[in-house]
Amino acid sequence: MTEQAHRSLQSERPFSAKRFFLQWEWMLAIIFIVVNMANASLSPNYLVFDSIMSAIQMFCDKAILVFPMMLVILLGDIDISVASIMALSAVSMGVSFNAGLPIGAAILVAILVGGACGLANGLLLIKFKELSSMVVTLVGQIVFRGIASIILQDQAAGGFPSWFQYLGWGYVGKIPFILLIVIAEAIVFGFVIHFTRFGRSVYAIGNNETAARYSGIKTKSVRLLAFVIMGLFSGVAAIFLASKMGSVRPSVAKGYEMDVIAMVVLGGVSNNGGKGRVMGVVIATFIVGLLRYGLGIVNVPSQTIMIIVGALLIIAVIIPNLKSSLSGFRMFKKIAGKGQ
């Protein structure tokens, strides 16, 4: 029985504790607990429900960008123009509202402008295969914020109706409204990425674009769609940011892309594409967000926080590859030894 069964191409496999516990998400869970313990020891009031909720509310506008960014990075691409898209979307919304558009229409303008920016990025990418997403979105980063500056100079736009600030500051019961949005988004993206045909295509392209194309996957359409989704959600994030800040300027959201990319990569999404799960990204989002909050409590300057997040990222990338790095080192020693 044994040999025969062993070779008979089983379509079910038994549960393996080793496989279950060797998942990156467990490591993230430990880091998450450590960060929370550190925060609690720094601020005695931290572990109160209300204060945790307000801490979470602080980074939820970034969290909106994390899931579409995950989609883009899973494809093996990157989008560093998201903060500039947010700026342009926010400015477009502010200006069109001040020009007399009703607030609902202005919100729609923000989303559409974001989508258009994403479409521009995506079209450039798929039409010119010489261009990498790094280059295209670097240009986007400069151009989109540039347009925002041309529209508004260094003025601010705003004066939104008072209910508008509910989006960024409001609560449903004891839970921030924006957190509910992020949770809903995480569930939808988790479903799309892990359980749909589109999600499977994304992983195929990220792992081996050539093989995906030979298998009849519409690689161009999938990449284009991912960048459009990224743009649309940048527009959505811009609305919540505008609500939080009360007014908009061309300089809003500067540096957001770095935090967002850090959250995704720390979450276990390979920057080469094709690897990573939504659950890891969710935990990593809370790690980076709460770490920033905790360090803010003890007045660590923003730049130093970035250094700490950066260090965390490097550790996160090294640990899963520790085995191969070490064997590479051994091989190096062997070659060096042979040469003498």
Partner: protein
């Protein structure tokens, strides 16, 4: 003074699973042009890599100028004034001619090792003029033709005072006129005392240039002759040599009506005027040397690469293919040449690889049904006797033969009429090979039209009902599988086409 400048004695070299060279000997006289010939996979490339220090032999001796030497790295061989130029020309396309020539041995001055540009440019110019070339040494190499790039590589070899020059299929992508120019340069070098090993698939190269010719086959030395002492026919027999084993299934399929027809397919720079017909239940072989354009034709039919002109008909109706998805929807499937890069997602489970070719049938409202996927993967895998414990095993953990079976399962997962198999048995060991032959033959028996590209001539002869030969992007001959001989195929793959071949494929 020894008679031979370079002598190799009983060289052995094995790679995992393959004996690339088996007790091979070779002698190169001073100032001669020595042709090295053999089929694809005969061991020529490995042999050259041993001479140029890329590989170290497992056993045997290399004797240079009468004294034994050992090359551990390419640098060692370079120091002994052995240089090589390759079919594809320059190595640093974005640098200038001068930089390419002097790469690694630039002329420098002062403590900061500043590069002496003026001196290098004028020396480069001198070298090029010496070869009868009027190239400007300041221009970027990427803008040059392949022939001009080869001249640059030759100049580089001379600048290092090469005594032995290996030319690996230098004429493969040159025009007639460029070949003549290359012959002239090679003869000039020979007259200056350089010894040249010239690898080529072309009879005319050998006849025009070489004084002696050595033939390899299956990693063994077959013989060395004076060029005047051996006829073309005997030379081809020496290259082919072996008998077809009885590992091929019998050809007793019923061949049905036409399923696919190509008419005048052309892609500039790759292939021209390709026309053929394929019938249901038929295996049509495409034979030819590596680089003859067989893969390019199939990639254009499958929509990976564009077509410049020509028409395709599926079951008599004209069809358009712009991307692989179009081809697959029509029922044309391709098993690509490089299964790692083009065929598989190595990091994925077997079942995900198999179902990737048509996700639609496993999705309801675009939501995947993994149970259904795994069941289908299991069924297809069992059909082909895929050896794996579960369908969850990673493709990367499978042997070459089983990986190829996964790719075939991928094709069978879709609804196809035409199967294009590009080198399906490459890198597969003999036991699985005969299983694959059985599978391919069965598929044809089920009514698929099968196109089989293979560089393995016994395989083509043993499997195919009809065989087309290609050379330099054109079809040069058509044969009945059961009647053709290796000599005929090789002749048609190597001869100058010259437009003499009339299309008789039907």
């Amino acid at each position: 003074m020894p008679e031979f400048i370079l002598e190799l004695k009983s060289i052995d070299k094995a790679f995992p699973g393959v004996k690339a060279l088996d007790n091979v000997g070779f002698q190169l006289k001073k100032g001669e042009i020595h042709a090295l010939m053999g089929e694809n996979g005969a061991g020529k490339s490995t042999f050259i890599k041993i001479i140029t220090g890329v590989h170290e032999p497992d056993a045997g001796e290399i004797i240079l100028d009468g004294s034994p030497v050992r090359f551990r790295t390419p640098k060692d061989a370079q120091k002994q004034a052995i240089a090589a130029i390759y079919q594809h020309g320059a190595i640093y396309p974005w640098l200038s001619v001068t930089e390419n020539i002097f790469m690694g041995h630039e002329e420098v001055a002062g403590p900061l090792k500043t590069i002496k540009w003026k001196a290098m440019h004028s020396k480069a110019e001198e070298l090029l003029r010496g070869l009868g070339s009027d190239l400007d040494p300041r221009i970027e190499v990427s803008g040059l033709t392949v022939a001009e790039q080869q001249v640059v590589e030759i100049a580089k070899a001379i600048s290092q005072n090469a005594r032995i020059l290996v030319m690996d299929e230098p004429t493969a992508s040159l025009s007639r006129r460029e070949c003549d120019e290359l012959y002239r340069i090679a003869e000039k070098l020979r007259d200056d005392g350089v010894s040249i090993i010239f690898i080529s698939h072309r009879m005319e190269d050998m006849q025009r240039l070489a004084s002696r010719v050595t033939v390899f086959r299956d990693g063994k030395l077959i013989g060395t002759w004076g060029v005047g002492d051996i006829s073309n026919h005997d030379l081809i027999s020496a290259m082919v040599g072996r008998e077809i084993n009885q590992i091929y299934p019998a050809r007793n399929r019923a061949i049905g009506e036409e399923v696919f027809r190509a008419q005048g397919l052309s892609r500039k720079g790759f292939f021209k005027d390709i026309s053929f017909k394929l019938h249901k239940g038929e295996i049509l072989g495409f034979s030819g040397l590596v680089g003859a354009g067989r893969t390019d034709v199939m990639q254009s039919i499958f929509g990976v690469e564009p077509l410049d002109s020509g028409k395709m008909f599926l079951e008599g109706k004209e069809v358009q293919v712009r991307k692989p998805l179009d081809a697959m929807k029509l029922g044309i499937g391709l098993l690509p040449e490089d299964r790692h890069k083009q065929g598989l997602v190595l990091d994925w489970e077997i079942f995900k690889n198999i179902t990737l070719s048509d996700l639609g049938q496993f999705a309801k409202y675009s939501v995947m049904k993994p149970k259904k996927e795994r069941a289908k993967a299991k069924a297809l895998g069992e059909l082909l006797a895929l050896k794996a414990p579960t369908v969850f095993d990673k493709a990367s953990s499978m042997s070459g033969g089983n990986q190829q079976k996964i790719v075939i399962c991928k094709l069978l997962n879709t609804d196809l009429k035409v199967l294009i198999l590009d080198e399906p048995t490459k890198g597969v060991d003999v036991g699985v090979k005969s299983q694959l032959y059985e599978i391919i033959s069965d598929l044809a028996g089920q009514g698929y039209g099968v196109i089989l590209i293979s560089s393995d001539m016994p395989e083509i002869l043993g499997m195919c009902d009809r065989i087309a030969t290609m050379r330099e992007g054109r079809i040069t001959g058509e044969f009945i599988g059961s009647e053709a001989t290796q000599e005929q195929l090789l002749q048609a793959s190597m001869s100058q086409a010259g437009g003499a071949y009339e299309k008789v494929l039907n």
